[in-house]
Amino acid sequence: MMRRASLLPFALLAACDTVQSTTGNDGSQSELFTGLFWIFLAVTGIVYLVVIAFLLAAMFRRGGRRQDGLPDEGESRDGGLRKALAGWVGVTALILAGLTVASWIADRRLAQAAASPALDIEIVANQWWWEVRYLDHEPGRIIRTANELHLPVGVPVRITLRSNDVIHSFWVPNLAGKQDLVPGRVTDLTLRPLREGVYRGQCAEFCGLQHAHMALDVTVESAAAFAAWRQRQSRPAPPPTTPLARAGHDYVTSRECAACHNIAGTPASGQVAPDLTHFASRRSIGAGTFPMSRGHLYAWIADPQSAKPGNNMPYVGLEPDELHAIVAYLETLR
């Protein structure tokens, strides 16, 4: 047990490097978490060691009890232990009170962070993907994307959370704690990224068959890079230039795909599936199921049901030339 305790710091250090870790300290909220976690770990660790020390002492002590092993009603000899028990209760209560106050202070600071958001984002969860909207007063600056989040570093962001079907939970551990998305309710979360980098979020409330494949790519970048990204995202999809891509465009905008997907600037205007306007600029396919690559794109479009069984994208039965064309077109959606 004690060996475990001493290993913990190293494990935590190692954990800091990953894109989905509670100890990343990459957001002001997760920084609060880490600080509080260390306080709790130190305090409870010490208490644990005290308990184990008492246990070991009790086990290896050879006390002055009667040799035949049968004491009389022991209560009369309990004086010292009774005092120790009273002390133990007092200390436990004080420690717990201290931890409660520490927790409360941290929680207040989390809540205060919600005061002045500079960016408003709305996320709507679906089985099993995230729809993301950047809100703005100017309708032209509202952008729609899916399964990705770009955030300017150092800016407090308020994310409004809704669900279209079941309960999900929005969680980017490097940046902040989780917040459920409950159908029929609107919840929100404020976070402030502290460091540029790429992170990964994942649904944290069991939401059905593909709960495991409901991730979200988060990019924290400089204000300039973010503004440029936002500018690109607000443009319609670029028209296809090669004949193959044009064939793909024709298929996508006139056949099954368009019933569900939206591609701004084309006739494809379905509203129930991820927006594909700048699809190829994302880092992953299928809400984090695969990294974005031509091979995975082929696999996904050819048979979405073996790529992510149970998801709502049907198997269409594409001919090989149609498949080539669609992939070629989708790769132009940057």
Partner: protein
């Protein structure tokens, strides 16, 4: 034997009737018919308790196998061993089986067997209800597992959050099976709770005041009252879920002004006390074991009792800590943080008292006490992580991650299964008349203890490194590979340890050293009778003057005489001081509880297919209940004689 003088002058135990003659008369009165019908008709709490125990261990085995399948799937990233549909059924079945079909019933099993013996009475209160509860439990568990075998196993988690578990997102019968299985276990658990409460309050041996009651009985009293308070909440919830699913009510449908969070409130108002319903009996085991093997009365008896009661009360005030991420008002959260943390105070008191008992005694580290040591070392870690999870900012990160999985396995396995294994080793000679092998027991302990740590300690890191629960697979490169592989290796070793425990029990049942009535030189009344006890438990009802009767009265335990031997009769005592009150007849064996359970099973299962089953199915249930409660001749029972 005296000739009868009047119709009221029956044969009774006493100076005239003792020893072999008494045994023969009581055995005839309290025995049952041989053969299958007799076996199915029994109302002997020991037989029912044994069946409960064996059944619960079968469900533990089944649930454990599923746990291993989960671990096999998660051993490597992107594993294709099982598909998501099967995986979701498996983790749902694992949790449901362990919580509803193992953890609670196994504690019921121990209580049903032990409580009447510990209290010095001849049978449990409402013994027919006891038989009924077992059959209902068995039917519920069978329903769940048959459904799983038919690919209709529930797949919305053991907590069945709506709307995922509602009619729209879980069409088909899978969640119906879950909800009805819960109904079965509710009926069974409530029945046992009522029996245990009545037994404890009214059937204690003369002189066993509340303040002299064994600590396990105190634990079971608190637990039974908790069951009675908390089960209605899940009954309501599962009833609403079933009616949402089957008859189109909209309790949980937010689009029709229902509320999905209502389910979570109702479920956790039951679900959190449930954790203590599992833990407190184990705390009772620990108190009994520590006392016997430390050769000293439990230190701080009153503190231990108050801690049990305090835990039982606090358990109802902290269900919202399961809901910190749902977006409820933050101000309310502070209350639940404080309430959740405050549970550590009574738990800390108990831990202190147990260690203090060892400290001040002359501990003898036989296998049961080893399990207690393993329990303290493990459970306290679970307590510490519990304190962390009570904090809102920490929970917002750790909730629904593998950190929580680690936490509750430390609490439930460390806190309940370790004491249970110790308790079974401890009471095994009472159950079977033979000792479990001590050498094998020690080996088993070390395997179980160390493998447990290997399996579940790494899950803390998996969680801290951001791994959510209930995922059927995970990608490479997030730093979860090593910890998951370690957990899997540990889980298989842990299973091997449990297997060797069962093997030890099975072998020892036939070949173990023959145990006398009191092989451990323990102080409780259950050790005052032969091992295994006769159908009537005690030839004469013992009379109690302290907390450790067998230590206080070496060789001459005072006893009461005057209960009838030609009819089943118990002595009821007053609630607080256990002053003999009245003689009470105790029901004879009958097949009706089984018939009633079968009728109820038919009703419950067919109601998954049509609501009319509730109407039509209630007819056979009513018929069975009429048979069960058919009036008998009133008998006059004069007051008993205390000798």
């Amino acid at each position: 034997m005296k000739p009868k003088k009047s119709p009221y002058d029956h044969d009774r135990d006493g100076h005239d009737l003792t020893g072999e003659a008494l045994h023969a008369r009581l055995a005839r009165t309290w025995g049952r018919e041989p053969g299958l019908l007799g076996w199915l008709s029994t109302v002997d709490h020991k037989e029912i308790g044994r069946r409960y125990l064996v059944t619960a261990f079968i469900f533990l085995t089944l649930g454990g196998i599923l746990g291993l399948v989960i671990r096999a799937q998660l051993a490597t990233p992107e594993s294709g061993l099982i598909d998501p549909d099967r995986y979701n059924q498996i983790f749902t079945m694992h949790g449901t089986t362990m919580m509803f079909l193992f953890a609670v019933p196994v504690m019921d099993a121990m209580a049903v067997y032990l409580i009447p013996l510990m209290l010095g009475t001849r049978n449990i209160a409402f013994p027919r209800l006891n038989a009924f509860s077992y059959y209902v439990y068995l039917a519920g568990g069978t329903l769940l597992w048959v459904a799983f075998a038919l690919d209709v196993g529930p797949d919305a988690g053991w907590f069945s959050y709506v709307p995922l578990a509602g009619p729209e997102f879980s069409p088909g019968k899978r969640v119906d099976v879950w909800a009805q299985m819960v109904t079965f276990t509710e009926v069974a658990a409530l029945a046992v709770a009522v029996e245990i409460t009545a037994t404890i309050l009214k059937q204690r041996a003369p002189g066993m005041t509340l303040a002299r009651m064994p600590l396990f009985a105190w634990a079971m009293l608190v637990v039974s009252l908790m069951v009675i308070m908390s089960m209605p909440s899940v009954t309501l919830a599962s009833g609403m879920l079933i009616s949402d699913r089957l008859v189109g009510t909209q309790f949980f449908n937010s689009f029709e002004n229902g509320d999905s969070l209502l389910w979570q409130h109702l479920f956790w108002f039951f679900g959190h006390p449930e954790v203590y319903i599992i833990f407190l009996p184990a705390a009772g085991f620990v108190s009994e074991i520590v006392q016997t093997f430390s050769r000293r009365p439990a230190f701080g008896y009153i503190a231990l009792v108050l801690a049990l009661v305090a835990t039982g009360l606090l358990a109802f005030g902290l269900w919202v800590h399961h809901m910190f991420t749902t977006g409820l008002p933050r101000l309310g959260y502070a209350f639940y943080t404080a309430a959740s943390m405050s549970v550590a105070i009574p738990t800390g008191i108990q831990i202190f008292c147990w260690i203090a008992t060892i400290w001040d005694g002359r501990p003898k580290f036989d296998t049961p006490l080893l399990y207690v040591v393993g329990f303290v070392v493990t459970f306290v870690i679970g307590g510490m992580t519990g304190v962390m999870l009570a904090s809102v900012p920490l929970d917002l990160q750790l909730h629904d991650t593998y950190f929580v999985v680690a936490h509750f396995h430390y609490v439930l396995i460390g806190g309940a299964v370790f004491p249970l294994l110790g308790a079974i080793t401890y009471w095994f000679p009472k159950f079977t008349g033979r000792m479990m092998s001590e050498a094998a027991g020690r080996w088993t302990f070390w395997i179980v203890f160390l493998a447990f740590q290997l399996a579940f300690a790494p899950m803390h890191w998996s969680g801290i490194m951001g791994m959510p629960r209930r995922v059927y697979t995970y990608p490479e490169g997030l730093g979860w590979e090593l910890t998951n592989l370690l957990s899997t290796v540990g889980a298989f070793l842990f299973a091997a340890g449990l297997l060797s425990f069962v093997a030890n029990a099975l072998v020892s049942m036939r070949r173990g050293k023959v145990a006398g009535p009191n092989p451990w030189d323990a102080p409780g009344l259950e050790w005052a009778t032969s091992s295994p006890p006769p159908p009537y438990n005690f030839p004469h009802i013992p009379v109690v003057a302290g907390r450790t009767s067998l230590w206080d009265n070496r060789g001459h335990l005072p006893a009461m005489q005057g209960l009838r031997v030609d009819d089943r009769e118990l002595v009821l005592t007053s609630v607080i001081d256990a002053v003999p009150d009245v003689r009470e007849p105790s029901p004879v064996p009958t097949i009706w509880p089984l018939v009633a359970a079968l009728a109820l099973t038919t009703l419950f299962i067919s109601s998954m297919f049509t609501p009319w089953a509730v109407v039509i199915g209630s007819v056979p249930v009513a018929a069975a209940l009429i048979g069960w409660f058919w009036p008998k001749d009133a008998k006059v029972h004069p007051e008993p004689v205390i000798d």
